[in-house]
């Protein structure tokens, strides 16, 4: 988790973020904020669907969109932080399924309280995150490759172990096991607020975004994250604990993956072992659309949240409009390209100003 990188060690001031190092005019300063492009895009898409899709206009629909966004957005917060720190995690999609499977099968097989299973699964996920980070730092192999390996290992293990334990590829129904209702309250409850249903994941999502924002803006580890993503060598030279920071980021991603895995498990009781594949790209898309640079060192949590919101809005907006959802991926791709172009433009502006 991100707290772990905050351990005390007096570090000299890390290199400042690009956005803070200059004082250009208000317009330029706004442009240089990572989330502004995404915010504009979100508003445009929102207005667009308000006009195009009558069913989109209700509050219920808005909260369904928020729910959909939250299940992507929670992990995307971690993936965004990790990308700011200059690394990728392709195992973030399947680990949500692994987390749920570990919990359900352990508790089912041994007949123990689900809290034990959930705790064990948390340890398992943090260990996977640690291993990802440690291998990347230890070997110097790009995280893209290391986590691609983890992705396949987890995908195969999800299937293999589930089949061994349950003799099918679906995890057992856990709704009768002790601890189900209390864990369900934590991870997958909802409450009515007037006419709308608010899922607790939405609140958790906002909390994680706020926490990540606080870390990035206020905590020393936030500076470390920008520093290791911007330039690991100079970060190391000024005393930033690069290894610990990056490992912490990988663990943050798997923690959040665990969290979403718990939600899915306790909302749906059973899991199919093949699920979760492909979601890693949605997290990365949310982060990139939200203004995170693929090269690291730039981005923020609010932007990633907006990116996830855009994802949820587009995904469901197409359905609310009654269009053929076969086109959804095409829309998503166009948006990703646009976001990357905006990011490129912003980055050019930023570098041009620095050299000027």
């Amino acid at each position: 988790m991100s707290h772990d990188v905050q351990a005390a060690r007096p570090a000299p001031a890390a290199p400042e973020t690009p956005a803070a190092s200059r004082r250009p005019g208000l317009g330029n300063r706004l442009l240089l904020r990572p989330e502004v492009g995404a915010l504009v895009a979100a508003l445009v898409i929102f207005l667009f669907f308000l006009v195009a899709a009558p069913a989109f206009r209700s509050m219920e629909s808005f909260f369904t969109v928020l729910y959909q966004a939250s299940t992507i957005g929670i992990v995307a917060v971690g993936v965004g932080l990790l990308m700011i720190g200059g690394e990728f995690d392709l195992s973030a999609g399947v680990i949500t399924t692994s987390a749920g499977l570990v919990t359900s099968m352990f508790s089912w097989w041994f007949g123990v309280n689900l809290w034990v299973g959930a705790l064990l699964s948390l340890i398992f996920c943090l260990a996977v995150g640690f291993l990802n980070g440690w291998l990347v730092m230890r070997t110097g192999i790009p995280s893209f490759l290391i986590t691609l390996g983890t992705f396949f290992v987890l995908q195969g293990a999800n299937l293999g172990v589930t089949k061994l334990v349950t003799n099918s590829v679906t995890s057992p129904d856990i709704s009768q096991i002790a601890g189900f209702s209390s864990l369900g309250a934590v991870f997958s409850s909802n409450f009515g607020l007037g006419p709308v249903t608010v899922w607790i994941t939405v609140l958790w999502w906002l909390l994680f975004v706020a926490l990540a924002t606080w870390i990035l803006q206020r905590a020393r580890s936030g500076n470390w994250i920008y520093a290791v993503g911007g330039s690991p060598e100079s970060a190391r030279a000024v005393g930033v604990p690069v290894v610990r920071t990056k490992i912490g980021l990988f663990m943050a991603v798997s923690f959040l993956g665990w969290f979403v895995g718990m939600h899915t498990l306790f909302r749906f009781n059973t899991l199919q072992a093949g699920n979760g594949v492909g979601n890693e790209f949605l997290y990365i898309i949310a982060a990139v659309v939200g203004g995170t640079l693929l090269t690291g060192g730039f981005g923020n949590a609010a932007g990633v949240a907006i990116g996830a919101f855009i994802f949820g809005m587009t995904n469901l907006g197409i359905v609310y409009a009654g269009w053929d959802p076969n086109w959804f991926k095409a829309f998503l791709g166009v948006m990703l390209l646009l976001a990357v172009l905006v990011n490129l433009y912003v980055k050019r502006m930023a570098t041009a100003r620095r050299t000027a």
Binding site: A53, T64, G111, L119, F130, I177, T264, F268
Partner: protein, 330 residues
Amino acid sequence: MTFIRGGRIVAIAALVALGATACSGGGRDKGEDSEQGGGGNAAGSSGYTIAFVTHETPGDAFWDKVRAGAEQAAKDEGVTLKYSNDPDASKQAVLIQNAVDSKVSGIATTLVTPNALAGAVKTATDAKIPVVGLNAGIDQYKQLGALMYFGSDETLAGQSAGERIAAGGAKHPLCVIHQQGSVSLEARCAGLKSKVPGTENIQVNGADDAAVTSTIQAKLAQDKSIDYIMTLNSQVAQDTLKAQEQAGSSAKVATFDLDTQVAQNVQDGKIEFSVDQQPYAQGYLAVSSLYLYLKNGNDIGGGRPVLTGPSFVDKSNIAKILPFTKNNTR
């Protein structure tokens, strides 16, 4: 650091787990696990080796049953079974080629993409290796040179389901496709539409239950006139029940495929019926028919496809079928 603390937590958790074993309901039924594990190849006492090649996407509950059936047949008949799968058509063709190269006694394969597999199947028949088709390819298996076929006719299954929901008063059903570009899923929905013209298809991401649920919920909010939801696999049926509850929709739900939860929901009346194509039987019959052909020259089906479905599971027969779903055989 966290991982060091983690070590201690693991130890504690393990102790708690051991101490707490068997203190909670809802877990595994501990009496029955000795006889579980129905697969495994027997010694191969008949001397035959049969290759079983499918387009299974790893981790799909349906295919798991096909495979379980094939393994049971191999065990019963003393056949050595070589199972392999790849959802990608060209890779599946390579797997068939592998089987030919390793000179197996017979090949059972799904013919989901007949054009892509035709070449590989031909090398098998040229090498005098008998081939049977299963699950997909009912219209093409003969021209490809396969001897027999075991499976459901997807269009017929869709039509039968359509007739049934039309009789139940459906005017505007929703057909939920969970895998983009799947020919057999499209065929089911097309069959449905031929009997209920108001049928509308919707595409969902079958690998993400939360996404399936919110997409269907959104659809139900967008179009209040939907009166029936037809899902094409059992997990999507579960997700649909959640979405329906959220959206406060009174649409009826029916599904293809069966698992323990669907069976339970059929019994509880939450799901109207399930269209079962009996995957276990598909796997079992494909292997057995090859065995009989090799051993005894039998021709099962007499030159016609053998249909394993559509077999309807509803309130009238669920009591008999429910126990079988728990064995992973229905």
